[in-house]
Subunit: 196 residues, 2 copies
DNA sequence: CAGCTAAGTCAACGCCTATTGACATGCCGC
DNA sequence: GCGGCATGTCAATAGGCGTTGACTTAGCTG
């Protein structure tokens, strides 16, 4: 009856505060991204990390604090840098035409952001993290005159495609898929274009 | 100490099943849109409607059923028809540059959709409603060859701007606002353009 | 006016949650 | 080898939630 999502970890980890803290944070990142703030239970997070609930309080303080910690840890600065400006639109369009990957870690950060953004509980906790770790890198990556406004637009478009993919019930078939990619790429192209 | 969001209704409404049902539905639409599925409490919904919690069970069956009912009631078919194709991009761009209106009823349906879409609990309940009441009207409004794919893209862009506005911490100042509107309008233009 | 039924009320249950404080125990330095 | 402290465990608390069933009452029907 033990949860089979993670294999039973026979060596229950030596007493190591740093390691358990990290394990809790990792589990929190996953569960918050997958379930959202409300439905993620501290008990389950602790269980997945192989730790006790009370350690969450000790190491982080509470649920909100754990959430903000996981939020910060989910965004690595500079993740945008390596994207090629020319290939970006089509690559992202194709990514968004596909299903949500089973290995969710690749899009964890964005789902995390998305879930957090659309919950009234967590939205207030976002503004700083969004500014520093999301909008600022996009701004820098875009460059140019009205980078702030254009970063907002690009972020909006990006998030929009993310939601669309999240809600999509069945995969796009061949013809619709091709058309979707074409149009999405055109939109993204317009979003990263240097000047209107 | 009574909640001041709604004035105390001195006449507590005569015994009228239909009327109370409607009142509950109306309250549910508001609270679900504002708070999302998880944080909306049946007790509060009933209180806002001036009814008892148990009536929700009697008239709707349970929370999920109430939610789907509110979801269906939130989308009026044909709401898109009156939008002029030419003015649409700039109008929407300006709408999205502004703050979330205090009178939220104007964007209730979309917030409702948004909240529902990004919660794993309610996302499965969405597919039909989204197809029938959201994508289909957009498809019809767009017309043309690959209307299905383009409707998806337009819906994604729309939702994206909605989220951006929802998360925005402070209003856009003059310069950034103008640039934002320009770029957003360009994106929306590309989304409704007849052919790529 | 009497009686019945639909409409509304009330109180309680069971479950799950975050949080907390007291307790046990492994590990490290002396 | 031993004491002390950081680490981990356990149980209990308090509150909120959806759900439920029994009770009361208003309003129509005959």
């Amino acid at each position: 009856m033990s949860d089979a999502t993670t294999l039973d970890r026979a060596p229950p980890r030596k007493r190591d505060a740093e390691a358990t803290r990290a394990a809790i944070l990792e589990a929190a990142k996953g569960q918050f991204a997958r379930l959202g703030y409300d439905r993620a239970a501290l008990r389950d997070i602790a269980a997945e990390a192989g730790a006790d609930v009370s350690l969450i309080k000790r190491y982080f303080g509470g649920k909100e604090a754990l959430f903000t910690a996981a939020l910060k840890a989910s965004f690595r600065p500079g993740g945008f840098k390596h994207w090629d400006r020319g290939a970006f639109p089509r690559e992202v369009a194709e990514l968004m035409a596909g299903p949500v990957p089973a290995d969710e870690t690749s899009t964890h950060s964005f789902q995390f952001l998305l879930r957090a953004a659309t919950s009234p509980t967590t939205a207030p906790l976002l503004s700083l993290a969004v500014q520093d770790r999301f909008l600022a890198p996009i701004r820098e990556w875009l460059g140019g005159e009205d980078a702030p406004a254009r970063a907002r637009v690009l972020a909006a478009v990006f998030i929009g495609f993310l939601v669309e993919r999240l809600v999509r019930d069945e995969p796009l078939d061949g013809a619709e898929r091709a058309a979707f990619i074409d149009h999405a790429a055109a939109i993204l192209e317009a979003a990263v274009a240097p000047k209107g």
